[in-house]
């Protein structure tokens, strides 16, 4: 270490063989904050700083999870996941199609975009009463709400993506005599993929938001139902278990998309946020 130029006060005494530091180095940094919070909670509940009937200790929560995992947890997860998958599929699919068309045509944009922008301004939850009146309280209304919620982020990004396609690449297709459909399929959509993935990931988190909203109101199964159930029987551990499940499911599905994004966008030659040093 050649730190002679540094002032003496800044020099640190190396702590030899301090194994905790070494352990930290091999732990993904993203895990540190949740672990710290869990440790703090456990401590404050066991010391009695926070009453256990308000905030169950993480160890109690683990017990609740074990109890749920033996029974209804999987039904709830699969019910919610199916709704998300179906609603998100429909909403995102329509958004990709309409977004590409609107992106390619100024005229279509003039016709459709103002309406979409107005609809986008309506909070997703405002549709709930209407959907309940129109479609009843069964699956259709839930899936529709999720589709509406996930449509707009995908649509917005798709339009922006198509509008950002390099004119020079489009010209290559024009020169080769491509039809409009071929331009769309072979140049616009692939070139807009980076935007599309941003939209899909935003849309997916909207889909999870909407599924909880729909299930809070009327459902007999689903993670949202678990939340209501926990409140009604005054069991914060149930509510927290539902929240943690939501966080995990959201993270899991987002990671899947992120993985797909990485695989499909390997061709990009962009700044990837890497630190310059090392």
């Amino acid at each position: 270490m050649s730190s002679q130029a540094q002032p003496k006060a800044l020099q640190q005494t190396p702590i030899a063989g301090w194994s905790a530091v070494r352990l930290l180095r091999f732990t993904p940094v993203g895990l540190l904050l949740p672990l710290a919070i869990i440790a703090l909670l456990e401590l404050s509940v066991s010391r009695g700083w926070v009453p256990a009937w308000l905030m169950p200790a993480p160890s109690d929560l683990l017990m609740t999870f074990r109890e749920l995992a033996g029974g209804p947890l999987w039904t709830h997860i699969s019910a919610s996941s199916q709704r998300v998958l179906l609603g998100f599929g429909i909403g995102a699919g329509l958004a990709v199609l309409i977004g590409t068309l609107v992106g390619m045509s100024r005229q279509l944009e003039a016709w459709l975009d103002p309406t979409f922008q107005a609809l986008r301004a309506v909070p997703g939850l405002a549709w709930v009463p209407l959907l309940l009146i129109w479609l009843g309280i069964d699956e259709v209304s839930k899936v529709t709400l999720i589709a509406i919620g996930s449509f707009f982020p995908v649509y917005m990004n798709m339009v922006a993506g198509v509008r950002n396609v390099d004119r020079k690449l489009v010209e290559v297709g024009t020169q080769l005599g491509f039809s409009r459909a071929a331009l769309m399929r072979r140049i616009m959509v692939p070139a807009a993929l980076p935007y599309l993935f941003t939209g899909l990931r935003n849309g997916l988190s909207m889909a999870w938001l909407c599924v909880v909203a729909a299930e809070l109101l009327a459902a007999t199964e689903g993670i949202g139902y678990l939340l209501t159930d926990g409140r009604e029987v005054s069991r914060p551990d149930l509510v927290l278990a539902a929240i943690i499940t939501l966080a995990l499911m959201g993270k899991l599905t987002d990671s899947l998309l992120k993985h797909l994004e990485k695989r499909m966008l390997g061709w990009r030659d962009n700044f990837n946020g890497k630190e310059q040093s090392q």
């Binding site: 020079k168 690449l169 010209e171 290559v172 020169q175 005599g177 692939p190 070139a191 993929l193 061709w267």
Partner: protein
Amino acid sequence: MSALLRMSNIHKSFAELTVLEDVSLALAPGEVISLLGPSGCGKSTLLRIAAGLDTHFHGAMERNPLLDFGTGSGIGVVFQEPRLMPWLSVAENIGFADGRRADERWVRQLLRDVGLEGRGDALPKQLSGGMAQRVAIARGLYGRPQVLLLDEPFSAVDAFTRMKLQDLVIKLAAQYEISVLLVTHDLDEAVYLSDRVIILGGRPSRIVAELDVPLAQPRDRRAAELALIKGEALTALYQQPT
């Protein structure tokens, strides 16, 4: 033989500004023509008209019916930038016109022709500027064109790469019997490559001089005859009103 491309009395204006006035030229089979002029003189615009990318102009642009016969697309274009699709491999970029139904043997042949054998699976981001431009040239040749339009294709690469690419293009054009219309602002390049140098100048631009380069290919860059013709071209360039 009649011309493959014939442009007669082309006028072109952007809004109020007229850039091209009464420009006529004809490209004969097997001929290499350079359009030379200062930047902003409308030479690229003329090429875009020839490529069919710009259809808002006055005058006539005739394609020989021969161009629309056979398997070829008639006209291939190589732009100033490589303009490769970044999400496609080198081979897929070359066969881009046909997508998945691309003729793989022909693509492999073109890869060999442009000196990129075995690099078909690389992505554009892995290529140097000169290599990317080679891919663009191969893509321009993929449609078996009878006319190749080149829009300052060597201006973005270093001098050494430029010489190599120039030799490559002139060799391939002769090999596949392709007529070439080359837009350039490089006098050496124009004289070295072409059978005819057309100099655009003035505001709005018109043809101010036309020089024949009656030397057989391959040429020697150091040849005295080339220097002589270069001198003539320089005189023509300096004589034009500013």
